[in-house]
């Protein structure tokens, strides 16, 4: 019974419901269908809302009707595989990439990927990082800057995206997004980290991206310094301390 029920709930094809309708009490087919539709509506609407909560900026960017049409197809093709819905949508960005009506918005899958990663970060366990004052104190005690090792929090993720989805995301963190300065066809470098319970995203420069990438491989500061004219170590360190993404500062 549950297999045809599941099919009838998820599918947009009317013939999938026939087997189930025969087992529903009701005066006629219309009444049986109406009764079944309550469940169908509950399932589809609640999952659309769940996807809307997981990809809120994507939903704002494309509008509710377009988002729901996309979500409707995603739900049918990729129903949740766990009762914990905060993890739902792991294939959404790939799905959006192939969703024909969204082909004119090539940045959209990158935005979805960003939103998904941030939500997953929010749900991970907190990892202790150095507070601003603690990091400042630690740095001020350094004797030999050559031997300085900066350990980034293991939760830090670095992303290079071919569109300005970081700026797009940040613009939508206010009630009235201002997109007038936004050039979407621009590569951006992003640092994803967790602070004060939530996954957070910071825009960084190409030089900072190279620096942090190098630090992740080898925490020795002098080896990680990028060969960029524009790189300002003092400014970058100040940002890392403010964002509280440093796990440890050591002198080897």
């Amino acid at each position: 019974m549950q297999q045809p029920f599941k099919q009838a709930l998820l599918s947009t094809h009317p013939d999938t419901e026939q087997a189930l309708l025969n087992d529903i009490r009701g005066a006629d087919v219309t009444e049986r269908q109406q009764r079944l539709n309550v469940y169908r509506n509950n399932v589809i609407v609640s999952l659309m809302e769940a996807l809307g909560d997981i990809f809120p900026v994507c939903k704002q960017v494309v509008g509710e009707a377009f988002f729901n049409a996309m979500a409707r197809q995603y739900i049918e093709r990729h129903p949740p595989t766990s009762p914990v819905l905060s993890g739902y949508g792991d294939q959404f960005s790939e799905f959006v990439r192939d969703f024909f009506p969204a082909q004119s918005l090539p940045y959209l899958p990158y935005l979805c990927d960003l939103e998904y990663r941030l939500l997953q970060l929010t749900h991970t366990a907190e990892v202790p990082t150095l507070s601003l004052s603690c990091a400042q104190q630690r740095l001020s005690q350094v004797q030999n800057p050559e031997a300085l090792a900066l350990h980034l929090s293991p939760q830090c993720k670095l992303l290079r995206v071919p569109f300005a989805v970081g700026s797009l995301y940040l613009a939508h963190q206010t009630d009235t997004p201002n997109l007038s300065q936004l050039n979407i066809a621009q590569t951006e470098y992003l640092l994803l980290a967790k602070a004060s319970l939530y996954g957070r995203m910071y825009l960084i420069s190409a030089a900072e991206f190279d620096f942090l990438k190098a630090l992740q491989d080898e925490p020795n500061l002098s080896q990680a310094l990028p060969d960029h004219e524009a790189f300002d170590l003092g400014q970058t360190l100040a940002k890392l301390m403010t964002w509280q993404v440093l796990h440890a500062i050591e002198e080897s």
């Binding site: 549950q2 309550v38 609640s46 129903p79 009762p83 914990v84 929010t122």
Partner: protein, 298 residues
Amino acid sequence: MNTYLKQQTEGSSLPSGFAQRTGISLKPSYYEQILQERPEVGFFEIHAENYLSPGGPAHYYLERIREHYELTVHGVGLSLGGEEPLNLEHLERVAQLVERVQPAVFSEHLAWSTHQQNFLNDLLPVPYTEVRLAVLCEHVDQVQSHLQRQILIENPSTYFEFNSSAMSETDFISELVKRTGCGLLLDVNNVEVSCFNHQRSAAEYLRQFPMQAVRQIHLAGYTLDEGAQPRLKIDSHDQAVAHEVWQLYQHALELIGDCPTLIERDGNFPELSTLLQEAAQANQIRHLVKEIDHAAAI
């Protein structure tokens, strides 16, 4: 009945907050206000599936709030009425949550939501047959053994009945209680919704219901689908408790005596004070019924 269930049912007195004062659903929009104002609430109820992450705001605020309040845990994803074996990985995560927060009760539904690894995010109905009953009982036994405690099973709100059902819902639930020793969560709104949708008497449903096993009551609001023919009441949890549900609640209390109660809200969230007022209204009715009981005993 398993020995530990019997001991638990007979040996322990219910913790005071849960037993004495009506609780409300715990929702993220209320976290800060609860910690700042510490409203007089008997307990807070959480949906297990929203609190399984090892970090983030839900985990953080739950830890703070449970320092001050008793909790109940309400599962919405174990799919006890499913045809297939339970998802053991999920059961284990729920068990860890229950172990960590030590709720006054853990409850789940007479419903299914998962089939072949697909979770459908709704509480779907079960035909009332001997075969389905046997599988449901197995699942309830399994959860009670895993959690090492009696669990409560909630009566469903349903929008259709199966031709293949061979017994009434209340007979099915009575048999479930008899075979597993589980307790019951009587959702009064679900009684109203289902009885309206199937054109039955809600009072008669309560008379048939195994009231002696009820350990908790849920009250919530429904919406009316005017467009359907016949009209259907939808268990939406996004409205105030309806007048006829309050009346039915008082009737249920007259049948069973006082009972721990929850104001359940899952959408269209009002100010916290609105839910507190509904909780106060439930407390008043509970008080009134106790007075009547007392007067009747003189």
